[in-house]
Each structure stands twice: as structure tokens, then as C-alpha cells.
């Protein structure tokens, strides 16, 4: 065993893991599932929700698996009566300060809190007591924030400060009244928010949702198509959410090799051009100073005739083609092939230089 490896026991099974790994990471590698809520692989370990609490031999309290580093000969128990009791307690406490309006919540069907409530069979009704009644915040084009649905996992705050480093939101208030908000609870604006929607992408509940996708379809009605962003050259993956032949939302692909679910304003919210009324919908042929709609056959016949004519009249060096960095690899390859096999020259270029 090298210096970087340590052996620990999880639920009695010995596993070998990396020194510095957390219990959570080691457990996941060993295929042991531990519930989490405030954890997001993109973020630093936090240990706020306590759902991942596990028993470690020799420690009287429970320890959060997400923050506790493994140590030599550590013995971890991930399921026990006490642990289940605590998890139930935590979920029911969360629900005791939650609107519990799943039937009309945008997040229903993909909500971590809903799943946990189902798994542990609790509804938080045993407490009574005060519930938040905070105003919903949506004075901006992209993000709706309903703090009443917030479970204070802090993921939005951390992604804004750790990953984006925009510093738009942080904790306000103390104790029961602690929740994420902008400084002085001002509306989000360009001066303090990049509108990357990263906070929305990490929110486990319906507290932060995309304004544009609201009411456009529930999760089970949407088809998710994984694709690659068409803006800059970073190559982020995401899901196009399609309903009735329309892209209604972009959501994160957390397994994406480049961006791990992270996106910027363009990738997440710049998709409306797809169904823009300004799109060119049919081939257009110029007559004088104006363009007239044409069928594909008319247009393509005309193009073939014209180019054939030009080559005949001026020689094959008088024509060429440009392609663009916006097109796919396959289209670029075809254009390269087209110029060489059809125009029979090398007059082909792309805007990669621009």
C-alpha cells in the first residue's frame, strides 16, 4: 500500500481509498449510496444539511461523510437506526418550513427534497411553528427566486462565490431567518449578477428556477437531448429540453467532460434564436432588388446551373466556397470535399483565422 492510499472499512467491508478523500467519495467509489443535499461535486465540501451523517467508530457524534476525510483504519457505518432517525428528522425539519406545494411547483419530479420526503416518508407536519413568508423575487429576465422553498443548503451561494466568483449572493440574516440573497436584497442586475444561471443549476429544490422555462412543461413531458453548445470554443455540453418540437429550456449536464454542468449566460439562456420568427424558413431567390420564396428544388437547380455556367464561362478557378467555424466538422469536411471534387479547385477557406 502506497503512502497515498489508506484502508478503511465501510459497513464492514474493507476498501482502499486515496488519502485526502472524503468518506462520501470513498463510499461512492465503493458503490455505497449516501444521501446528500448540500453536496455538489463542483463545490467545496460544506457539511450543512447533515443528511450524509454517518457513524464513525470511536466518535460519539455523527460525522458528515461529505466533509470528513478518511483516516487509516477508520470504520464507517452508513446505515443504522440512529442514522435513519436523524435523516428523517432533517428532512421533516426542512419540510416544516417549506410551502409543500409540489403540485404546482416547477421542480416537481426532479426535486431532491421531494425525493427525500418520499424516501423517508415524512411531511414535517408534526412541528407546526413558524414558516417563512418571504416575497418571491423575479425582477430580472432569467431567474425566479422563491426563498420560501429554500432549504439553505448554500449551493447557490457557493457556486456564485467559488466557481463563478461573481459574489452576487450570500447569506443574509441569522438563525431561522438565514437565507441566500443579494446584498441589501436588491434586485439582480448586471452590476451584481452575470446571469449565468449557475445558482439555478445547483438548486436542489424549486427555490431557484429558470424564468423562461416556467410553465413550459413538466420534467416527464420533456425530452432531453444532450448536445454541445454552439457559441464559443470551450465546448460545453448541455441538455436541450424539447416539448412538442420546441426547445423550451436548457439544463445542465453534470457529467459533461468540459463543463461539469457549468454554463454561462449564452449557453443557458441564449437559445431563443432557434425558434426566432426571423429565421430564414425557405430558400429565397433574388429577383431584381427583392427576394422571393422558392422551393428547395428551384433553388438547388438554380445554384447547380449557375455554378456550372460560371465554370464553363470563366474556368473552374473563378469560383470558390467559404465555410465557417459555426458549422459542424462534417459540414466543413463536406465543403472541403465539395470544392475539390465539384469545383475541382482548392478555392476553399474558412473563417477559422478570423
Amino acid at each position: 500500500m502506497s503512502d497515498h492510499k489508506v484502508k478503511i472499512k465501510i459497513n464492514g467491508t474493507e476498501i482502499c481509498c486515496n488519502r485526502g478523500d472524503t468518506i462520501l467519495k470513498a463510499a461512492r467509489m465503493a458503490g455505497v449510496r449516501i444521501p446528500t443535499l448540500c453536496h455538489d461535486d463542483r463545490l467545496e465540501p460544506y457539511g450543512g444539511c447533515r443528511l450524509c451523517s454517518v457513524e464513525v467508530k470511536g466518535v460519539p457524534r455523527l460525522l458528515p461523510a461529505c466533509t470528513t476525510p478518511v483516516a487509516r483504519k477508520m470504520e464507517v457505518i452508513t446505515e443504522s437506526e440512529t442514522i435513519t432517525r436523524i435523516r428523517k428528522r432533517i428532512v421533516s425539519l426542512m419540510l416544516s418550513n417549506h410551502p409543500n406545494d409540489c403540485m404546482r411547483c416547477e421542480k416537481a419530479g426532479e426535486c431532491a427534497l421531494q425525493d427525500l420526503a418520499y424516501q423517508y416518508g415524512v411531511d414535517g407536519s408534526e412541528y407546526g411553528g413558524e414558516r417563512w413568508d418571504l416575497p418571491i423575487r423575479q425582477a430580472n429576465p432569467f431567474i425566479v427566486y422563491d426563498p420560501n422553498k429554500c432549504v439553505t443548503c448554500g449551493r447557490c451561494i457557493r457556486i456564485c462565490n467559488e466557481v463563478v466568483m461573481a459574489g452576487t449572493i450570500d447569506w443574509v440574516g441569522r438563525g431561522f431567518h438565514t437565507y441566500p440573497d443579494t446584498a441589501f436584497r436588491k434586485p439582480r442586475s448586471l452590476s451584481n449578477c452575470e446571469f449565468c444561471g449557475q445558482c439555478v443549476s445547483t438548486c436542489p429544490t424549486g427555490a431557484l428556477i429558470d424564468k423562461k422555462g416556467r410553465g413550459k412543461g413538466r420534467v416527464n413531458e420533456l425530452t432531453r437531448v444532450k448536445t454541445t453548445c454552439g457559441y464559443c470554443g470551450t465546448g460545453c455540453n448541455f441538455f436541450l429540453n424539447v416539448k412538442d418540437g420546441k426547445v423550451v429550456k436548457v439544463t445542465s449536464d453534470y457529467d459533461a467532460p468540459v463543463n461539469h454542468g457549468n454554463l454561462c449566460i449564452k449557453g443557458r439562456y441564449g437559445y431563443e434564436f432557434i425558434h426566432s420568427a426571423d429565421r430564414i424558413k425557405t430558400p429565397l431567390i433574388r429577383r431584381g432588388d427583392s427576394f422571393h420564396e422558392a422551393t428547395w428544388d428551384e433553388a438547388l437547380d438554380l445554384i447547380a446551373d449557375k455554378f456550372t455556367g460560371l465554370i464553363k464561362k470563366y474556368g473552374n478557378k473563378s469560383v470558390g466556397a467559404f465555410s465557417s467555424s459555426r458549422c459542424t466538422n462534417e459540414e466543413n469536411f463536406l465543403i472541403a470535399k465539395f470544392a475539390r471534387t465539384v469545383f475541382r479547385n482548392n478555392n476553399v477557406d474558412n473563417c477559422a483565422r478570423v
Binding site: 460519539p60 457524534r61 483516516a71 428528522r89 432533517i90 408534526e126 411553528g129 431561522f176
Partner: protein, 603 residues
């Protein structure tokens, strides 16, 4: 410790000015009682009597708090080594003290402290507070004169390992509350291979009513600095921070003065006393969040983040300030270090019990006669503290319980009053040492109400990070509130117990883990009071307003009419020479009449 219990005999010859010292308590307590005005009065009095030389010779000096704040302003007049202590001094009294005692050599007997002052102090064992109240905290020479920085000199002549061993063998345990062995903490930190390490002095004293750290810093700031430098040397840190709340302006001021002076003398900075060891100290002011007393929250606050704790492990000794190994020690702990170094671990460990060595300062408050700061050897019994030092409950009432360990400590009932005060015994009984607050409750306290009160503090001070503390303690509080409102129901006690247990084992930091203690300990020892509230709809101590009947006993009523005047709802009918009557239909149960009735005629 005051040696002169008797007033010195009147002397005929006039003492020279050099022999006169007037010491005025100028801790925060003293200042609040008007000690600055008293000092001004002494100055102007001496000046008007042509005793300017006394002022120039600094015959009038300020000292830190000596503990017995209930008697402030306290003034010592020392003439030729004979000390007289005056209590409740104000500017007018100052004039007469100068006139009669200083000029005429005749102490003003009626203002001299009484036997309870001496009793209060005689039962103490002062190590940390010894010099508080004796020396001028703003004068480094005064500290050096009593042997200050000798411990540092000794430490620097040894290896860091030897220093750590000395502290380890002294048995000193962290005075911030958890009681972790200080030497061991240092050893863990020094084991890290990371080159940069930090030392932090935790002066974020947050328990309501507790002010031992403030008293030590205000009264003897150099002892803390000396302890820090030694600690820095022992763990290999070159940089120390003092995290102190901004509500302690006097302590901060005195620390600044002390740091400046220590730099001038070469105790702080590069190559300290020619040892080659460098150490700097900066002050970081906190905004007064209770949770910032928790070491990881404190570290986050120094880093400029919101003061929120993080899970341990990893502990600060391996990953602390800016990710570097960091030792966080409390003020009292650090102030003890110089004494251990200069007088030896052996001597120190001779005080206290087997596992709890040395002395501890407590802030004694609540329904007790003598409130103030006391320093006692660990292992002393609660009875000695409450009766011998504290003088028992005020107004002759019966002692009911004492809460140790601050708002998240536990209530200890009379039946356990003979238990020793040490780390293990306190935690066994469901309380803790904490930073040293002691709140005494007498028979007029309702234990459900007390639990609710302490929980309201911790609930409001929760940082909001972890669920069990943020919502669990809130729900605990709400249930207690419901019970005190007369809306308790069967099963509440069991629900409280299970919720409290869950919060204790699942919360992130010490605040959440200990916040349910008052609830658990009051249910453990005073379950009958809870049951009385829930099942019998009465508050045995008569504190919870919801249970009052608001009936006037005509037998007891003295017909004074105060209740009539106090009632804002017109529910009290009263005519001169007639007992008052409360009309139930108009009464809103605000309790105003109950509060003003001098005869207890209203139930």
C-alpha cells in the same frame, strides 16, 4: 490578595507623596460605574490642595477589574503599604477621602468595604486575576516589575519541544469550554510539515454575562501577549491574531497599547530577545456574532468570510486559517502560559484535581448576593462558590439551580450542589465548563421559562448553516414557548427530549450540539415543573403569565390602587379604601397589575 483586613491605625506624621498610591478600578465595569469621573475628582481635589506633585508622580493609577463589580467604583488608598479599599466611590466621596484620609490620615470608615468583600476574595485562588486590579494595565514596566516576560525569557532559552512538554505536563486544558489539553493541541499543530502556521487568541467572549476574558485583557494585557509569544514559539508560528469583539473597545485599546510597548521593548517583532525567533501579533475585530467564538467560524471571520463554522475534522491544527495549521487558544489559556513557564508545570499542576488542573475564572451572576468575577481552583464545590463566595441567594430566597457553561450549558439543581466543579463532573451531569458563566437561579425562577430564555439566545445566534441547529432549535424553542403559553400537550416532553437528542448528535458545531442542554437538564431535574405547565396548567414559580388567574385576594390587598393605575385596559375597579377587583371580561392578562402589586395580592 488584600492583606490588610483592618483599617490601618491613624498615623500622626504626614506620609511623603511617594508613599501614597490611589488605585481606581477602571475596567469596563468600573468605568460604567463612573470611575473616570472619580479619577478626575481625585485629580482636581489633589490639584486644588496643591498636591500637584501627586499627579505628576502618578500617585493616582488605574487598574483593571478586580472582580467584585457589584461594589464599583472600588478605590484603594495605600499609604505606607497600608491599604484601605473604598466601595461605591463617587466624585463627592473622592473629595472627602482626599480631605480626611490623605491629608489628615483618617480613613473614612463608613465607606470602607465590609466583610463580604474580603470573604469574596479570600475564598479565591488568584493566578490570572492576581495582578488585575493591582497594576496599571497600560504600563509595560508595571508588568515587568512584577516578573512579566520572565516566562518568555525562560521559554526562549528552551527548545519548542521542551516548552510543549512543560505545558503538557502542567495539565492545562483549554479554558474556552471544551477543555482539550493545551499542550497536546500544540503538539498536533507542530507535527504538521506545512511551514506557515498561525496562532489565534480567541477573545470573542460571547456568553451573556461572562466577562472573564475582558477582565484579563483590560487588567493585564501583557500576560495574554506573553502567552501568545510563548505559544507561537512552541508551535512554530510567526504570526498571531487576537480575535476580539468590537464591543470591547477598552480591551482593544489596552491591547494596542500593550502590543506597541512590547514591540518597543523587543518582545514582539524580529529576533525576540536575541533568540532569533520572530513573532508578530495583529488584532482582528469581530462584529459580535456569538458563533464566532467557535474556532472554525472565528477563522472564517478572520479570512473575511461570514462567520460560519465548518465541520471538523479536519481540525484547525492541521487545516486552519487560510488552510494552514492553526492553534486557537482562549484568552485565559494563553494568560496562564507565562505563569506555568515562570513558576513551573509542577507548581501549576499542584492546584486543582487529577484531571482538571489549575484555576478557572467564573462570572457569577443571577439571583445571588455577590455578583462578579471569581478565580477559583478547579475541583472546588458549587456550594463553596455559591455560598462562601457568592453569599447565597439574594433577599433570603431559596437556591434552586445554577446554570454553568453559558446559555448552552446545563442547569444543576440544589441536590447536586456539593459536586466538584471540573470538566468531567460538569459534563457528566449534562452541563459543561463552557467559558465560565454561572447564572444562579432562586425559587422565583421558572425552569421552563429559563430553558426557553437560553434557547431563544442560541436560536437567534445560530449561523443558519446546519439544518438541525437552524430549524431544530427553532422548533424546540417554539414548543417551549407553547408550553409556557399554556398550550402544552401530552407528549411534548417526550418530543422535546427526542428532538433535543437528535440535534445534539447531528449539529455541525458546538453551538448546535450544546444548545439543547438547558432543555435536557431542566427536564432531567425539573420534569415536575414541565408537567405542572402541561397537565396542571400552572407555573409553580408564578413566572409564566399565561397561567395567572388575575384575581385579587381582598384579604391581602392593601387598597393602594397601584394596580388600578397600571391597568391599560380598564379591567381593574378600585375606590379609595376598597380592595381592588379585576373584571375578567376586560382583562387581557398583560400582567401589569401583577408586576406593580407590592403585596402579592394578585395571583
Amino acid at each position: 490578595m488584600p492583606k490588610s483586613k483592618k483599617t490601618p491605625a491613624v498615623t500622626s506624621e504626614k506620609p511623603s507623596l511617594k508613599d501614597i498610591t490611589i488605585r481606581i478600578c477602571m475596567g469596563t465595569g468600573g468605568l460604567a460605574a463612573g470611575s473616570r469621573e472619580v479619577m478626575d475628582a481625585f485629580h482636581s481635589e489633589l490639584r486644588s490642595r496643591n498636591l500637584k506633585a501627586a499627579i505628576i508622580n502618578k500617585c493616582v493609577t488605574k487598574t483593571g477589574c478586580r472582580g467584585f463589580c457589584a461594589k464599583d467604583v472600588l478605590v484603594d488608598v495605600i499609604i505606607s503599604n497600608a491599604k484601605t479599599t473604598y466601595q461605591f466611590v463617587d466624585p463627592e466621596k473622592a473629595a472627602r477621602i482626599v480631605e480626611e484620609h490623605i491629608i489628615n490620615g483618617r480613613p473614612v470608615e463608613e465607606w470602607v468595604v465590609g466583610p463580604e468583600y474580603h470573604a469574596f476574595h479570600n475564598s479565591e485562588t488568584k493566578i490570572l486575576l492576581k495582578q488585575c486590579g493591582e497594576i496599571d494595565p497600560e504600563d509595560i514596566n508595571a508588568y515587568i516589575a512584577i516578573g512579566g516576560y520572565r516566562g518568555l525569557e525562560k521559554a526562549l532559552s528552551q527548545t519548542p519541544f521542551e516548552v510543549r512538554e512543560e505545558v503538557k505536563s502542567s495539565g492545562l486544558r483549554g479554558r474556552g469550554g471544551a477543555g482539550f489539553p493545551t499542550g497536546l493541541k500544540w503538539e498536533f499543530c507542530s507535527m504538521s510539515k506545512v511551514a506557515i502556521k498561525y496562532l489565534i487568541c480567541n477573545a470573542d467572549e460571547g456568553d451573556p454575562g461572562a466577562f472573564m476574558d475582558r477582565a484579563v485583557i483590560e487588567g493585564n494585557p501583557h500576560s495574554v501577549l506573553e502567552g501568545m509569544i510563548i505559544a507561537g514559539y512552541a508551535i512554530g508560528a510567526k504570526k498571531g491574531f487576537i480575535y476580539i469583539r468590537a464591543e470591547y473597545p477598552l480591551a482593544i485599546e489596552r491591547l494596542k497599547i500593550a502590543i506597541n510597548a512590547a514591540e518597543q521593548k523587543g518582545f514582539i517583532g524580529k529576533d525576540i530577545i536575541g533568540s532569533g525567533f520572530d513573532f508578530d501579533i495583529s488584532i482582528k475585530q469581530g462584529a459580535g456574532a456569538f458563533v464566532c467564538g467557535e474556532e472554525t467560524a472565528l477563522i472564517a471571520s478572520i479570512e473575511g468570510k461570514r462567520g460560519m463554522p465548518r465541520s471538523k475534522p479536519p481540525f484547525p491544527v492541521s487545516k486552519g486559517l487560510w488552510g494552514k495549521p492553526t492553534v486557537v487558544n482562549n484568552v485565559e489559556t494563553l494568560a496562564t502560559i507565562p505563569v506555568i513557564m515562570s513558576q513551573g508545570a509542577k507548581w501549576y499542576s499542584s492546584i486543582g484535581t487529577e484531571k482538571s488542573k489549575g484555576t478557572k475564572i467564573f462570572a457569577l451572576t443571577g439571583n445571588i448576593k455577590n455578583t462578579g468575577l471569581i478565580e477559583v481552583p478547579l475541583g472546588i464545590s458549587l456550594r463553596e462558590i455559591i455560598y462562601d463566595i457568592g453569599g447565597g441567594c439574594d433577599k433570603g430566597r431559596r437556591f434552586k439551580a445554577v446554570l454553568t457553561g453559558g446559555p448552552s450549558g446545563g442547569c444543576i439543581p440544589e441536590s447536586h450542589i456539593d459536586m466538584p466543579v471540573d470538566y468531567e463532573s460538569l459534563s457528566e451531569i449534562g452541563s459543561m465548563m463552557g467559558s465560565g458563566g454561572m447564572v444562579v437561579m432562586d425559587e422565583t425562577s421558572c425552569m421552563v421559562d429559563m430553558a426557553k430564555f437560553f434557547l431563544s439566545f442560541t436560536t437567534n445566534e445560530s449561523c443558519g448553516k446546519c439544518l438541525p441547529c437552524r430549524l431544530g432549535n427553532k422548533r424546540l424553542y417554539e414548543i417551549l414557548n407553547r408550553i409556557t403559553q399554556g398550550q402544552g400537550k401530552a407528549g411534548d416532553i417526550e418530543f422535546l427530549l427526542s428532538l433535543a437528542e437528535d440535534i445534539k448528535i447531528s449539529s455541525l458545531c458546538g453551538l448546535g450540539q450544546t444548545a439543547p442542554n438547558p432543555v435536557l437538564s431542566t427536564i432531567r431535574f425539573f420534569r415536575d415543573e414541565y408537567e405542572a405547565h402541561i397537565y396542571e396548567h400552572r407555573c409553580p414559580a408564578g413566572v409564566c403569565k399565561a397561567f395567572r388567574k388575575y384575581l385579587i385576594d381582598p384579604e391581602v390587598c392593601k387598597m393602594c390602587g397601584k394596580c388600578f393605575k397600571a391597568c391599560k385596559s380598564g379591567a381593574v375597579a378600585w375606590e379609595k379604601k376598597q380592595p381592588a377587583v379585576i373584571y375578567r371580561e376586560k382583562c387581557v392578562k398583560c400582567g401589569a397589575c401583577y408586576d406593580v402589586c407590592p403585596f402579592g395580592a394578585i395571583t
